[in-house]
Symmetry: C2
Subunit: 203 residues, 2 copies
């Protein structure tokens, strides 16, 4: 299985270029501003009709994209949990991944952060209910139990922690912050972690 620049690993073998083309267009122009002709043109060597040999309709493309991205994320999260014991280490791994994705696969990150998937994929689960993000919540919960993280509502802890992380990455993606994500990584991690960590003398 090949590795694309955008680090999008697909289960099957077929329509990698199509999904990548769709991903970029959706991220740039939005789902509704992207026509199937656009996608066909962007995925070169392909004509409109041949799209329909791989996907029954437009939604299916977006759906498949969504699932692929979240599958990959889920695998990475599993990996991070296996490799690390403490909640702080696991969260650090997630943050690492998010910052790396922002620099190396900005379209994927944009899709995750700013796309309102429920507007065109009403049947798909919202982000927080997908396996990947459920596990991230679980990491936070176990951190609370173990005493690493302050004893607050785990969802609130999530919103504080990833509020900081995601807002920062978002400003990198839009160009409002002008450096690479990696330039802000260590500082941002520290702040976000201290917001929810118990040891912090802040609160």
């Amino acid at each position: 299985m090949e590795q694309e620049k955008e680090t999008l690993r697909i289960k099957s073998d077929i329509p990698n270029e199509i999904l990548l083309a769709a991903l970029k267009l959706f991220a740039k122009k939005g789902y509704f501003n992207t026509s199937l002709t656009d996608i066909a043109n962007a995925a070169e060597l392909t004509t409109l009709t041949s799209l329909y040999q791989h996907f029954p309709n437009k939604q299916a493309i977006a759906s498949r994209l969504y699932e692929s991205i979240l599958d990959n994320l889920n695998i990475s999260v599993d990996d991070i949990r296996r490799r690390n014991q403490k909640a702080s280490e696991q969260l650090h791994g997630i943050v690492d991944l998010f910052f790396k994705l922002t620099d190396d696969a900005p379209y994927i990150m944009q899709f995750l952060l700013t796309t309102n998937t429920n507007e065109f994929l009403p049947t798909q689960k919202p982000l927080l209910e997908t396996p990947a993000f459920s596990k991230i919540i679980k990491i936070i919960q176990s951190g609370i139990k173990s005493g690493e993280i302050r004893n607050i509502d785990s969802l609130l802890a999530y919103s504080y922690f990833f509020g900081i992380i995601n807002a920062t990455l978002n400003m990198v993606l839009t160009g409002t912050l002008d450096k690479n994500a990696s330039a802000y990584q260590s500082q941002t991690w520290l702040i976000a972690w201290n917001v929810i960590a118990k040891k912090s003398s802040c609160f």
Copy 2:
């Protein structure tokens, strides 16, 4: 000038109900899933054609909506700056306003937080370049100068502070957090402020 439930004050007198109907539909279903017929139906007593007596096209409705909301916000921000001296007080006022809007005018807040306006209003300025938000950035900058806020990039401070605030409000709006915004307000303010405040012993 009347005050609507949704606290949307319009400059002129005419098409308040239209804009309110559009606001709700855009927030619920998104701009592209909302047809002009939908808007006409929602703004009762109005037929499709009469929409065109007030607005030349669909974009103009969204554009007017965007401007109205940001005008109101700008006025409120001016007010807050006039009434308070210190950056901490001014930011506190902004946070107050955002939490209040989330509970009292959720559609407005949703429009501000989650709508990708640039997808259907490519000519409008992005949020951070509007007067209201420029002033918020200025508040942060003056807080840095006065020593209230730590000496970091003001945009980074913005993303940390409002990352926390907005992520929390967003989870209230989606129902992921199940209480009123006001239930989380004091706690969230404290955390967000401590993240950027200099006096905090955190960092």
